[in-house]
Amino acid sequence: MHQLIFSVLTLVSFGFFAFNLRKIAQNIHMGLPLDRADRKADRWRTMLLVALGQKKMFTRPIPALLHLSLYAAFVITQIELVEILVDGISGSHRFFQDSLGGFYTFMISFIEILSVLAFIGTIAFLARRNMLKLPRLSMNELVGWPTLDANLILVFELILLSFIFTMNGADEVLRQQVNQTNGFAISSWFGPLLFGGITDTHTLHVLEQLGWWGHILMVYTFMNYLPYSKHLHIFMAFPNTFYSKLDPKGQFTNMQSVTNEVKLMLDPNADPYASPTADAVPSRFGAKDVTDLTWKNLMDAYSCTECGRCTSACPANSTGKLLSPRKIMMDTRDRMVELGDYKRKNGADTDDGKSLLGNYITEEELWACTSCNACVQECPVNIDPLAIIMDLRRFLVMEESKVPTELTGMLTNIENNGAPWQFAATDRLNWANED
């Protein structure tokens, strides 16, 4: 009976997770094409260093170490999950214990030690978020769901870890009743400390089963919570760093659609009345909505865990301007999910009449950006908020002609006399003859 319940639960959990992953993939594919299949070796290296190796986290060592404890515990615990799956389906108890012997004891001990560190890390993160009120973790854009989301994840983790120790602890006491021991690093003393007073074998069995079922139920809950949460970064960090922009940060894209038009303008032999080729005219210049962004911009949005390092490094934000690069990413994700759901319900060619620019992001935010790349530099998973900001600006300027007045003057000067100020091009070399 247990095995049946477990198998059904497992199938349903993985099925629902796959269903949501498919939606995420569909949403990302709403974006425009972009070639990031080049330079494979560089991409693997970036992913190994930045995602697996957490390289950029270590610019802030204390949170990095706390984060590392959770991350390591999470990754290593997946090994134990294999046994849980085998035990659950076959009805065995600690399937690998006898065959692996000392190595098994070592692995579970390792997991237990990491779990203790993760427990401490999680408590520290909860305290930092709710008691220390770190500026970047208590900003306007986090009010409501984002804060609840963050706390829920941490609480889930605490429950999950508690179940692990309930399971291993009760199991250890059961063993000791027949003068044996599992010999795991933590539960061999922590188990008796927790449950040593219980002599009733049945109660201990129930506790052990509670721990086992609680653990796996939390794992499945957690897994299926991820697609709705910022915590999805635990998966997305890997593809997102793999597909990182590898060009210099200062290199912005040259819009091919514009090149075609400009070449026509500069070419004296071009026929102005020629009908444009089918692929020459893009739907629009720049981005108004998530469908005008590239798939990588959208993947970025799913990879964001709202840590706010970008925003805390942003010169505009730290001087009180409205812009927050983190909010740009959160808005992009929220809008993408909204539009994706709408399209799945009403058909791929439909549109709900809303847009990222306007309904989510304001002009004032976009015009506060100095394009300094601090946000890009800071992001521990190589998200590029600047690319989105620039594409939205392009739409404002090239499609809507919504340019701040002073910039109109600057642009006119460049067009008329080849400099952002009103100086004659013929005076360009005057400096050589001045004092």
């Binding site: 940060k249 040259n254 720049g286 812009l323 394009s371 952002p420 003859n433």
Partner: protein
Amino acid sequence: MSIQVRTMADMMASGESPDILFWVGCAGSFDDRAKKITKALVKILNHCKVNFAVLGTEESCTGDPAKRAGNEFTFQMQALMNIEVLNGYEVKKIVTACPHCFNTLKNEYPGLGGTYEVIHHTQLLQDLINTGKLALADNGTFKGKKITFHDPCYLGRANDVYEAPRVLIEKLDAALVEMKRCKTNGLCCGAGGAQMFKEAEKGNKEINIERTEDALETSANIIATGCPFCNTMMTDGIKHFEKEEDVKVMDIAELIANAADL
């Protein structure tokens, strides 16, 4: 006093071709403060007998501020016209004292048909000193002075050039003091992304004031920069705190020219 500088057109007329083009940039050509940086660099180039030329009146804005302001049309018009001129003169190597021109020429022109070796003037100066072409005089100009370097975003984070300007400062008889936010963590001066040409959006502080505070905290006597726009922003910041007497804002080229008695 006029300064000797030849244009590409001159050189071509006499059948010569320079080893390197000095891309002066709009600030370097028209801004009164930046023109001094231009001249300091030209003095060094002349002193070292570098075979260089400028475009003079044939130079035009790279299009950087237009591109950062979101106007890709204006940017590409400028870029394609400049590339035509540069390719016409068969330019191979470019040096510029403006990180914005540097970034655009180096990274954004190749995709439009203009591929050159582009270096920032601090990289050229470092090379001139390393190869023994430029010797710094032991004139004690900077003796006992503290110098801090403000990383221009488009030189540092945008293109990972952090060392050249610092190596040059260390060659002076002065102490290099770092701001708490430097190199990859450097704070913007507030001018990038076309902000130079507009009022800042509503906030509670100007970015250049925030950055000037970082610089003043080091109690440096000189704030060194490698960008004409950073220079303007930091100079304004120093004026805001009425520290013009105590703290000078200078380009690396000016520091080196002074130290070489030029």
